[in-house]
Structures are given as C-alpha cells and as structure tokens.
C-alpha cells in the first residue's frame, strides 16, 4: 500500500513556489495541520488562535487537501516570534494517531520544527519524521572562499589507511 501522503506532496509544492518561506511553509503548515484535524495553535510566548483555512479532509487514506485549495492565511499576517505547539489527531490506515508539533518562528521564518511522534506504528513514524524534516529551511552551500571564516567543522578527514583501502577496492572492481 502506498502511504506516501498528500501532505508530502503539498510540502513539495510549497518549496517549488519560490515564495518567501513563511507564506509557502506556513500555508503548508496550515493545510497539513488542518489535515491532522486541529485548528488552534497556542504559543508559549503569546496566545494566538489560528483557525485553519482549509477544512480538514482526512479520508481513510490520510490525505490532506491539496495546497492550492487552502487560503494562504499568512499573506496578511506576520508571525510573532515564539514557539507554537499543537497536537493533532488523524486517522491513518494503521488506525488513530496523534502527533505533537512544535514550530519555532523567528523573524518570520520557521527556524525549527519538531514533531513528537505519538505513534508506535513504524510507517506512521516515518511519515511524521518526513513531515517534520520538510519544514526545515533548505540550506545552500556557499564557497568557503567567499565566507569569512576561521575554521570549518564537518566530518573528520579520513585516515590515509581508509582512503588507500577505498582506492584498492575501486581498483579491484575495475580490474
């Protein structure tokens, strides 16, 4: 059974729209949050009732309304910096599920999104993980020479022995 959910596709559409992150991502957030069946967000810093523009549309397959059919509520609002948490419930093919989502908004960009998976079903867990990671800003690489840096942190340079072994294996494979 293909459980690739509509919300995933909706997020994809938001990313391709090339609009500012908050409009795109928040529109998706609203659509997806609506799809998971809740309509209120409460902030730790500020109470803000945010009614989802789209009617929840969870059929048995857990599909959400396509992004295009949702009113982009965010277009006339700036989001106050803060942390917003909500718990939603929805019905997946595996049964009723809940997910708790926390979004951190800073300077009108969602800087962090965490999902606490309340499910034990492995496929639902994967979906919730995907859903959460799709909110993170997509990073781009800038040439090191163009950025003023003192040091670089990444994976450790591999030991010579490791590199030699990789080279040997490659040579064998090509022989």
């Amino acid at each position: 059974m293909n459980e690739q959910p509509q919300p995933g596709a909706a997020v994809g559409q938001a990313k391709k729209s090339n609009k500012g992150p908050l409009i795109g991502v928040a529109a998706v957030a609203i659509v997806v949050l609506a799809a998971v069946g809740f309509t209120k967000l409460s902030s730790k810093d500020d109470t803000r009732d945010l009614d989802a523009a789209a009617t929840p549309n969870t059929n048995g397959n857990g599909n959400a309304s396509p992004a295009g059919s949702a009113e982009p509520v965010a277009s006339t609002h700036a989001y106050k910096d803060g942390t917003y948490t909500a718990t939603g419930s929805y019905t997946s093919p595996a049964g009723p599920e809940t997910v708790t989502i926390t979004l951190t908004v800073k300077g009108d960009v969602i800087t962090d999104a965490t999902g606490v998976s309340n499910t034990t079903h492995p496929t639902s867990k994967n979906f919730q993980g995907m859903f959460v990671s799709n909110f993170a800003p997509m990073v781009i690489g800038k040439d090191l020479s163009s950025v003023s840096l003192t040091k670089v942190s990444g994976s450790s340079l591999t030991p010579k022995g490791f590199n030699d072994a990789v080279a040997d294996i490659r040579a064998e494979a090509e022989a």
Partner: protein
C-alpha cells in the same frame, strides 16, 4: 595566534593555535608534550593498535586497570548509553569491524554483523577498574576524539595558555580570555568546498559528524546496533557544547535520538541537516544559516 602546530594523529589532522607567545624551544617542547599525551591515550584506547589495552581486552577476559582519564570517559559514555537506550554504546567495535571498518580497513563485510551485548552483561567499570567478562571490542569513536581534545586543552591551560584553538579533523575546542569569538563554517556534506552556515563560539566546542567521508558498502561511520544499518535520515550533525567530549558524543547521539530526549539532561545547541537538505536547528544556536528564502520574504 602566536603559534600553530599541525600534525596527524589518531587518524586525523590536528591544527592547534596557541595564543601565548612561546620561544622556539618552548614551542618544540610543547608540541612534543602534546604528541606524547595523544600517543599515551592512543596506546590505551585505540582499537586500531595491536598493542593497545582495548585490543587486549577484546581477546582476554579479566580485570584491567585503566588510567585516570577513564573515569570521565566511561561515566559519560554510560550516561549516553542509557539516554539512547543502548544505541550509543562503546561495545560497537565488533559490529563496525564485521561491517568492514576494522583495524586493517578491509571495508568489506566479514561474517554476519550482530548487535552488541548489553553493557552489564559484557563488563563492569568502577573507578578505573574495568572487569571484562565477555571479551568484546570497545570502540570509543563516538566520543574519544572529543575526550582527547579536552585533555590536550587541559594540558595547555596547565602550562598557562589561556587562549587556544584545538581543531582535530573539524572537531574544535576554542578557549579564550580575549572575548573574541571564533567563526566556524559548517561544511556542506555534499561539497566540501562549501559551507551551509557559520557558527560563532567562545569558550565552547563545536563538533560535527557527517556520513560523507568514512563510507563504504552502504555504511558510514555510525551504525545503529539494533537496525544494523547506518542512519540515513540525517546527513550531517553539529553540536555546540561546553566541552569537546560532550559535543562529540552528542553529535553521534543525535543520529539515534531527538534533541528533546537529551536537552533535559545536557546543555547544548545543535544543527541537524536532513537527507532532503533541510536544516533543523535550536533557536539558541549562534549561527547564520545559508538557506533558500533567507531574509525578507514578501
């Protein structure tokens, strides 16, 4: 800074910047002390050395007296072992070797990879004494480098050097009395000529863990001992913490558990790059991230 030492040790490139001016003799003596201290550590804990205590313990059961630095090493490893429900374990050596990353860099699966046994079944550690009941290969790759960086840092402080940077293969400890922050680029795991952001640190460590370099046959340097696979949902993890040991262990732990599992117990900030290329990071990370749509969005 006044002096820079560059050398290879424990399988990676070290660059140490010293902020205190030293005489040529002083430099030579300090470098020698640093390299000797690293070698002492390596001779105990390296699974790549035939002559190490770790290699001996993997072959012969018994009681072993480990040096004083073992106290902090095993204490913090135990804490993370419990916080990750055993996914971060020092007993991962046999599994990593069976997968191919063995002492001779075979890089081919040997035999059938098995999950490691529970810590308490294999060994006990108490105040420097390790009792190895079922000989198992210990691998401290998840935190050993950070632990050693802190040890070298303490050595420098002991010698009156209050401002220094220790960079061991991209895991960095920066101490200063000057109030100047260190700008550290976050290396793009997709392209090492690029950075995806900058972090500023001061009297902190930043450690990064990515699956792009040490990879072979579908594995990278971190293997989940229960799934018997390398995690694929994250491609790079960076942690800023008070010590390099903490930051190093955390940068592995975050492949296994979410930050929220660890934050109640340890103070740190983080950035996680997902396989899709998104970055999830803590609000208190002192960073500028290069992302699509950064800046004013209307």
């Amino acid at each position: 800074m006044a002096s820079v030492f560059t050398f290879d040790a424990i399988g990676t490139r070290w660059v140490i910047d010293i902020g205190t001016p030293l005489s040529p003799l002083g430099e030579k003596s300090l470098l020698s002390d640093i390299r000797e201290r690293i070698d002492v550590y390596d001779r105990v804990y390296s699974r790549f050395r035939e002559d190490s205590v770790v290699t001996q313990m993997s072959r012969v059961p018994g009681t072993y007296e480990l040096p004083a630095d073992s106290h902090a090493l095993f204490a913090l490893y135990r804490k993370f072992y419990e916080l990750t429900e055993g996914k971060l374990t020092p007993l991962i050596g046999d599994l990593i070797s069976a997968a191919g990353y063995d002492a001779s860099y075979t890089l081919r699966k040997r035999g059938i990879p098995q999950p490691p046994l529970p810590w308490d079944e294999v060994m006990s550690f108490d105040a420097g004494t390790l009792t190895m009941r079922k000989p198992t290969l210990i691998d401290i790759g998840a935190g050993g480098k950070g632990h050693l960086i802190d040890i070298i840092g303490a050595l420098l402080v002991e010698k009156g050097i209050g401002t220094y940077t220790i960079d061991a293969g991209g895991d960095i400890l920066y101490r200063t009395e000057t109030g100047v922050k260190l700008r550290v680029g976050l290396e793009d795991p997709r392209d090492d000529s690029k950075a995806i952001g900058i972090v500023w640190i001061e009297n902190q460590s930043i450690c990064g863990s990515a699956g792009n370099r040490r990879t072979w046959e579908g594995y990278h340097h971190i293997i989940d001992p229960y799934a018997l696979q390398s995690p694929r949902h994250l491609v790079s993890v960076w942690v800023v913490a008070e010590s390099a040991f903490l930051a190093d262990l955390l940068s592995t732990a975050l492949y296994f558990v979410e930050p929220e599992t660890l934050l109640p117990h340890v103070s740190f900030s983080y950035a996680l790059m997902t396989a899709e290329g998104g970055l999830v990071y803590s609000p208190d990370l002192p960073a500028e991230i290069f992302s699509v749509g950064n800046g004013p969005m209307l």
